[in-house]
């Protein structure tokens, strides 16, 4: 939709958007361009600029088993956090949507984890799952092998998945509840008059009606899990033990800033960007169908 009535001074409009364009250019497009340049070149060891190497950097990262490992771990992390947080979020949203007495208090509580800073949540869960002091402490005393996230990679992974899902379930809850409450009352009342009970209405009417939100949350929780996991991994495990919790963004950070391998990190960034773009493209297709300008 376009406005009929506008101001006539076009240059002034341009002046209004100029600051944002400058910011976007400096902090988005230039770095992205630089990442592409680095991904296809290699810095000469004794200075003197970069050398064009074509797809060598990409060949190198894809030949690297550590990189494939981090891709697989990231996908596992994305899938398990998506399933856990969406399942909990949806369950709580359906329960709240029944509108029983006092549900508002529960609603407030369920939103909280989203407001807890991710690294603080990470530190909290690290303490809770610490073998020396947390909930497993007495079990660990009896069976030392039972739980040790500092040594066992699977335990460390489980720990970051639980922490991330705890926080993200709140986010899913907010969206699912909003979607459920947007269903017209009349639809539900009509089915109630037809004799559909509460559970029947949930499974045959409410859940099918919120499938768009469901798919939207699925895509967004995958892209978010790539971006937002960094703080949790860094505070809880440092990517360890070994490389057991090294997710994609953590590896980019590690190779780029600790390993100082700009070309490798840039090539990894480009791959991650492509993954994000494909996912976001799906999401746009969906948003396009959903947003209507009156």
């Amino acid at each position: 939709m376009e406005k009929r009535a506008t101001f006539s001074m076009g240059w002034l409009g341009f002046a209004f958007i100029l600051p944002q364009i400058l910011l976007v250019f400096t902090f988005f497009y230039w770095p992205t361009g630089a990442a592409m340049y680095w991904a296809f070149t290699l810095e000469r060891p004794w200075g003197g600029g970069n050398e064009w190497v074509g797809f060598d950097n990409f060949r190198q990262i894809f030949a690297d088993r550590a990189y494939w490992g981090s891709i697989i771990r990231s996908l596992m992390f994305a899938a398990s956090t998506a399933i856990l947080s969406m399942a909990f979020g949806l369950l709580l949203a359906v329960a709240c949507d029944r509108g029983l007495k006092g549900y508002q208090a529960f609603r407030t509580i369920f939103v909280w984890p989203y407001a807890v800073v991710a690294p603080a949540a990470a530190l909290a869960f690290r303490f809770i799952f610490a073998p020396e002091a947390g909930i497993f402490a007495s079990l660990v005393k009896a069976y030392p092998e039972f739980w040790n996230p500092a040594q066992n990679g699977y335990h460390a992974m489980a720990m970051i998945i639980i922490c991330y899902s705890w926080k993200y379930a709140a986010y899913c809850f907010i969206f699912f509840l909003a979607a459920l409450q947007a269903i017209p009352r009349s639809v539900i009342e009509a089915s109630a008059l037809d004799g559909a009970g509460v559970l029947r209405r949930v499974f045959d009417i409410q859940l099918p009606l919120i499938t768009p939100t469901f798919f939207f949350m699925l895509v967004i929780s995958i892209t978010d899990s790539f971006q937002d996991s960094f703080g949790i991994v860094d505070v809880m495990t440092d990517g360890g033990p070994g490389k057991a919790t090294e997710l994609l963004v953590y590896k980019i950070y590690f190779d780029g800033f600790r390993g100082l391998d700009y070309s490798g990190a840039a090539a990894q960034s480009i791959v991650l960007m492509l993954i994000m773009m494909v996912l976001t493209f799906f999401q746009f297709r969906y948003i396009e169908r959903r947003v209507h300008y009156s």
């Binding site: 406005k3 506008t6 101001f7 001074m9 076009g10 002034l12 409009g13 341009f14 002046a15 209004f16 600051p19 944002q20 364009i21 910011l23 976007v24 902090f27 992205t32 630089a34 990442a35 909990f88 709580l92 329960a95 509108g99 029983l100 529960f106 509580i109 369920f110 909280w112 407001a115 800073v117 991710a118 603080a120 530190l123 909290a124 303490f127 020396e132 002091a133 909930i135 402490a137 007495s138 500092a150 705890w166 969206f175 909003a178 009342e189 109630a192 971006q227 703080g231 860094d234 505070v235 440092d238 963004v249 980019i252 950070y253 780029g256 800033f257 840039a266 960034s269 994000m276 300008y293």
Partner: protein
């Protein structure tokens, strides 16, 4: 709806109650942890009863993490980012909706596409830009041959340099550009009736006046929602402040980044047990501001989340 479903109601309450427990128990264990002494907390058992050392631990965390200064840094950064994002998105959306100029749609798409490029995926080159924010412009001058030309003509070697590391500008600027906010404001401006502009113009209001005295008051709820969300977003930032503030002794960093130093990991302290009581006290302090904000601004918070899909 009036129905008698006592069993189902009981089940629903049970689900909600368990959900509340899942939210509460970790927070409670953190609180309990912050009230114990080092000796108490390192006994291998589950601690669920509070001790009496809360204030000592809070003080210890405050002093050890230098949290006064760090919280101030976090506050300035979050206020800067939230204000910047609101102003920037309102200005851009105003320019895009109320003016006609060539390249308008291109500008819209240029801003919108940035949604696909979160900071995390372009972190290495963004760091390079922050080390010298004028690097892009210097390179353009170099490539276009202007640097050489100017040096030949005037003898001045152009070397643009503006280091953003260890400064509030550096913490804030890269996070300000916002596609979601711009989109939100654009949608809002599109719903404002055309007659309003016509009437305002009839009364002699120019573009600035129309923006400040008509559109801004109308968008108050939007503004509050966007501000709340973006404040939380900025307070939550971890990777960017971690990199953008290498000078820990001087400028310091944000409270959230400092938190990790209260409980070093295997790689940084060789596997020793952290002082969990102090770490949990620090955790409490850092958690509190956003929780308060959400408690007071719940309505705007939920609204903003859903509008920006953030």
């Amino acid at each position: 709806m009036i129905e008698r479903t006592p069993l189902l109601n009981l089940a629903t309450y049970a689900v909600m109650f368990i959900g509340a427990l899942v939210v509460f128990v970790p927070l409670w264990l953190v609180f309990v942890g912050a009230t114990l002494t080092v000796r108490e907390i390192n006994t291998p058992e589950l601690h669920y009863i509070t001790g009496s050392h809360l204030f000592e631990n809070l003080q210890a965390a405050w002093a050890r993490g230098n949290l006064g200064g760090r919280l101030l840094n976090s506050l300035i950064m979050s206020l800067g980012v939230a204000t910047g994002k609101v102003v920037m998105s309102a200005l851009t959306a105003f320019g895009l909706v109320y003016f006609r100029f060539p390249g308008r749609m291109l500008a819209f798409w240029l801003i919108f596409i940035t949604l696909m490029l979160p900071l995390e995926v372009r972190i290495v080159p963004t760091y390079a830009v922050a080390a010298n924010a004028l690097w892009p412009f210097q390179s353009m001058l170099d490539v276009s041959g202007l640097t050489g030309l100017i040096q030949m003509l005037s003898g001045i070697q152009i070397g643009l340099e503006w280091n953003l590391l260890n400064s509030y500008t550096g913490l804030v600027l890269p996070l300000i550009a916002t596609a979601t906010g711009t989109f939100l404001y654009r949608q809002f401006f599109l719903t404002v009736p055309d007659e309003l502009l016509e009437a305002a113009r009839m009364d002699g209001a120019g573009p600035f006046r129309f923006l400040v005295e008509f559109l801004m008051p109308l968008s108050r709820t939007n503004m509050a929602a966007l501000f709340t969300i973006m404040f939380l977003y900025a307070w939550n930032q971890y990777l960017w402040p971690l990199l953008a503030t290498p000078d820990r002794a001087g400028f310091g960093t944000t409270a959230v980044v400092e938190l990790k130093l209260l409980a070093p990991t295997v790689s940084t302290n060789g596997g020793g047990t952290p002082d969990w009581n102090v770490a949990m006290a620090g955790c409490l302090i850092v958690m509190l501001p956003p929780l308060l904000l959400v408690a007071f601004m719940q309505r705007y918070f939920v609204r903003g989340l859903i509008a920006t899909e953030k």
